[in-house]
Symmetry: C2
Subunit: 361 residues, 2 copies
């Protein structure tokens, strides 16, 4: 197994205390002992989503919960606005397509954040929009969107706002209830410092109002089944027991630090990294950089794929670019348990790798 | 955390070697290192399913893969035969209902196995059956079905045979290709000695022929997306990395023992347990007992719920009955890593608990 420092935007390194508790002898899920753990995790999830609403936990990766946020609220031929500013915005459109939902795509240049006015215009130009789908942090471009402003627009309509906070949660500012977000979709392997395998949906009363009207088929990801059991501190299907046990620990660690302190630390670390990157003469890819992950432009004359490999050979794993950005950017995560010290190690290795590949600042 | 001996039909105890490897520092999934692990796991899965077909791994519990076995092959208003002999047979009917598939239910008394002739008659009585859904081991009643005979009937039709092998795999005899099973649905937390969170679908060529015609919506559980990536030793969505790493270890341990030896050991342990149970003057609930789990009738005058609690208070966790069987049976698993010695400990504790509750043999 590798002794690599993971600076990837999921999975992120798992603190030893969490690893340890997850490797204790497994317990059965239909027991008071597990129900208590699940109840405590579910209660703490509300704190990080900043909501009073129940947060559903699925045994799946984040994409499953993204699908749930479509299948549970819409019906065939419904119209939904999708902001496509990267790979994960595109995923919402693909899910809509799979379900026969008409996606009205707002395509923005990768690395840009959407202009809230464009969302307003899309509502004006299209009758009967039922939902708006977008990301808090578009992980593929390391770009944070202004959810607060967009939510204020969607709030004035009959539509609901669905935000993928998978990579942003715990790093980028997010206030579900205060901002009036209707569904927030999370995942375990990013800011929550866990292995992948858990996904979350926090659901507003406005969204629940649409759940009853939705006629799209669903079963495993059925909100109503999950909510009915959540109210009894239980799950309809076998939960990912060890990951839920890890979740309780992870959220406890965050609560000890203070959820807001946790987010502030990431904000500061992100600012620090961006400053250091600029001092190396490198450019940031995003026009609206996220505090969860930073995308750095690969300088001219340097092979981006080689750069990722060279960094890895020196003990640090960063992510490259996806799709059209392949070879053009590297992405350095600073979410979850990643510390300032980790970032310093990453920066040193990146600097050396660039030098090895002939980069001169 | 508990020092209970888990004799429950999922989760089952996780061997230390598997725990250990899962708690090493996490690695990224889009790396040659993970792809190799995933490739080796996928190859070994074929051995245990006894198939030459690719086996898809999902990050979900078994129910997700059950849903996948409906959504990927059928279309709205299609007809499917479902054998309902317990809670997990019923689940297939519920999934069909959620997708607008017409379930033709063959209801059998709980604890009985289906008569293959009834499946033949259902085909004769109904035109256009597209699929037959049933369990290898109906976990809720600890009953094994004669899949070989039923498969021989379905093979002669245009329909496919879908078998939930979630609890039976690794304990009850199962030969996917030799018997002509079309989709086999598995899970991680039973015979595979892992935490819950992985599910599997092995898919025959006959079933793939139906995938192209299916119009039901799917995304996260889409067979085609998963297969396309499986062919590259990859997954379309973030896999449950730690569980896949555990899976490789678990399958390696089984391969070392020999897959057939592994199953034979469970067969012998099951026979041993049934003999001992009878010698205690207790009755078996199932008319066709599984080699994965045994259901024992709670004797007259004993409170079944109290019995489970008393057993637990003495360090052993067994499962009670579900739905109509609540309080009427206890279920003792002998799948996965559960040994003869574990069963002996279980038997001693059960005997003592019965005595405490006033049972006289």
């Amino acid at each position: 197994m590798s002794k690599q420092l993971l600076l990837t935007p999921g999975p992120t390194p798992i603190p030893e205390d969490i690893q340890k508790i997850m490797s204790k002898p497994i317990i059965h899920h239909r027991t008071p002992q597990f129900k208590e753990i699940f109840a405590e995790s579910s209660a703490m999830l509300k704190k990080i989503f900043k909501t009073e609403q129940g947060v559903i936990t699925f045994a799946s990766s984040g994409t499953g919960a993204m699908e749930a946020s479509v299948a549970n609220v819409l019906s065939k031929s419904d119209k939904a606005i999708v902001v496509r500013g990267g790979k994960f915005g595109e995923r919402f459109t693909e899910i809509c397509k799979a379900y026969g939902v008409e996606a009205i795509n707002i395509d923005i240049e990768w690395g840009q954040a959407p202009d809230p006015a464009d969302i307003k215009r899309a509502f004006e130009a299209n009758e009967g929009i039922k939902a708006v789908y977008l990301n808090l942090c578009e992980t593929s471009t390391a770009t944070v969107y202004d959810i607060k402003k967009i939510a204020a627009i969607v709030k004035e309509t009959d539509a609901i706002l669905v935000v993928d906070v998978i990579s942003g949660l715990g790093s980028d500012e997010f206030k579900m209830d205060e901002w009036s977000v209707d569904i927030a979709v999370g995942g375990s392997q990013k800011g929550l410092m866990l292995p992948p395998g858990l996904a979350f949906c926090a659901i507003s009363q406005k969204a629940w109002g649409m759940v009853d009207k939705s006629t799209l088929p669903k079963f495993y990801f059925d909100f109503k089944q999950a909510k009915k059991m959540l109210d009894k501190n239980d799950t309809p299907w076998t939960p990912a027991i060890t990951l839920v046990i890890g979740l309780k620990k992870s959220l406890s660690l965050m609560a000890e630090a203070g959820f807001d302190n946790f987010i502030n630390t990431h904000k500061k670390n992100a600012e620090y990294l961006r400053k250091e990157i600029k001092q190396m003469g490198l450019g940031l890819f995003s026009k609206s950089p996220s505090d969860a992950v930073t995308a750095v432009k690969v300088p001219d004359g340097i092979d981006g794929l080689e750069l990722v490999k060279t960094i890895k050979a020196n003990g640090v794993t960063v992510a490259g670019g996806q799709a059209a950005l392949k070879g053009k950017i590297i992405r350095i995560a600073h979410m979850g348990s990643i510390t300032r010290k980790d970032l310093d190690r990453g920066l040193t290795v990146i600097k050396d790798a660039l030098k090895t590949l002939g980069y001169k600042n």
